[in-house]
Symmetry: C2
Subunit: 273 residues, 2 copies
């Protein structure tokens, strides 16, 4: 009984935070809209609560430098690392380079012919283009609930999912791009591109098709979780689409209603395992 109460307390605290108007701890400060349907679905279960999510994104990152065992190590968010562009919105993928150029503190060389003279990768700060897919972390009441969610995710193709400590399930899929675009010439403050703007357009087209595949996978996961883990809703015909169709105000109202319903369910003995 103690463990259940701990989970329920934690769940209530998390849901209160989700519903608050305060920004969350992510760089973006809010939950990605495309995640809201699946977050709401999972949180409607008495045995699960979502703890973090990303709906998928395109990013362009300028590496920093960081010390590693005395060597200079490049990569990660070390000293001087900088997001040049980030979007979770497929409509904002095409045209990112022009937007970046118009705003950036750096100058640009886009000939596609720049190769760093110093081939030793240890001292070069690369510009990296990434597509990263949907990821979701879900805290479960117990190992049984975690296993069920894990198996459901795996069966939908989220093959890099896993259960971690404290019944926290990470739902992951391997739809990625991870491409070095160029490097920062530190002496001139110039971003020098290895690749042409035409190649960047190819990457952008690929990212759009990855956004689409990602959305299909999220919908498949939504449907499977609804069918196999929730299943208790009396109105099975009201299939929620992955695209939210309600306004923010409507959502707030609905969340309030659902919150009260959830409180009622959590207190109901039928949910005690």
């Amino acid at each position: 009984m103690a463990a259940q109460n701990a989970f329920e307390q934690k769940k209530r605290a998390i849901l209160n935070e989700i519903d608050s108007t305060q920004p969350d701890l992510s760089p973006k400060g809010t939950i990605d809209e495309l995640c809201l349907p699946i977050i709401d679905l999972i949180n409607a279960s008495a045995d699960m609560v979502t703890t973090s999510s990303c709906s998928g994104r395109v990013s362009v990152f300028l590496e920093g430098t960081k010390s590693y065992n005395g060597e200079v190590k490049i990569g990660g968010k070390g000293q001087g690392g900088k997001w040049l562009y980030v979007t979770h919105d497929r409509e904002k993928v095409i045209g990112w380079l022009d937007e970046l150029k118009s705003k950036s503190e750096f100058s640009f060389e886009l000939s596609g012919k720049e190769i760093p003279t110093e081939k030793v990768t240890g001292s070069i700060r690369y510009i990296l283009y990434k597509y990263e897919p949907f990821i979701l972390h879900v805290k479960c009441r117990d190992f049984q609930a975690a296993s069920k969610l894990y198996n459901t995710a795996m069966s939908c193709g989220f093959r890099e999912s896993g259960i971690g400590s404290n019944n926290l399930v990470a739902i992951r899929i391997n739809i990625k791009l991870d491409v070095p675009l160029g490097y920062l010439d530190e002496t001139s403050g110039t971003l020098k591109f290895f690749v042409t703007p035409e190649y960047v357009s190819v990457l952008d087209s690929l990212s759009l098709s990855k956004f689409d595949e990602n959305t299909r996978k999220m919908q498949a996961l939504y449907d499977r979780i609804e069918k196999e883990l929730i299943n208790c809703a009396p109105d099975v015909n009201s299939k929620v689409n992955i695209m939210p169709i309600e306004t923010k105000e409507e959502r707030r109202e609905r969340k309030k209603r659902e919150g009260m319903e959830r409180q009622r369910q959590l207190k109901s003995p039928q949910n005690v395992l």
Copy 2:
């Protein structure tokens, strides 16, 4: 007792297969040499057995086409997908393009200016360059052993690790490259590259530094597992390096000795949890 016996049976069957001279089920047919020390270390524990591994690799893949819900879907190992080059050996990264050109059934256009006229990504078969890091799957006796291994891996930076069904732990890290190099022009049978050979050289340098980071991470994992999970070896000074220094014959002899020792340990009551 029944569950323990099932694990021990499974472990014995897997170890017999590892020790056999028959090729395994992987495309390569053998265990990557760089994995042997950590595999041997883990299998020396009575509570764990490795089930699959890859030490890290560079690959160049020509996508196939596959049907997906009536649409044509590109990607994965579908119809016509083809490995153009694969190596697990950092010494065989530089020069792969020349080697491929000299052997390939396709002709090559390496101007770096080719952009497919048909921008709809659905019908283009891309050439993808990938660096993929070390991955290891370990079946554990019980959830307690799986949790310990999972926590150890996470603490060494293998942040995409997770526990799956049947106490199978996947140890994963996110050191990747995933780069479209070009596409297959089906009418002429030509591999047309978006990128120049100079850009390929940059990718190769990056892959080499990723191989090095990967090796450091494997060594860190080895050390941590030895310290936190094995720890029962009486000769603590015999630190095994990640690079195997014995011949195949020496290894076979040692494995035979260790196998007998393991049988003895498995039968010993001190290992019953």
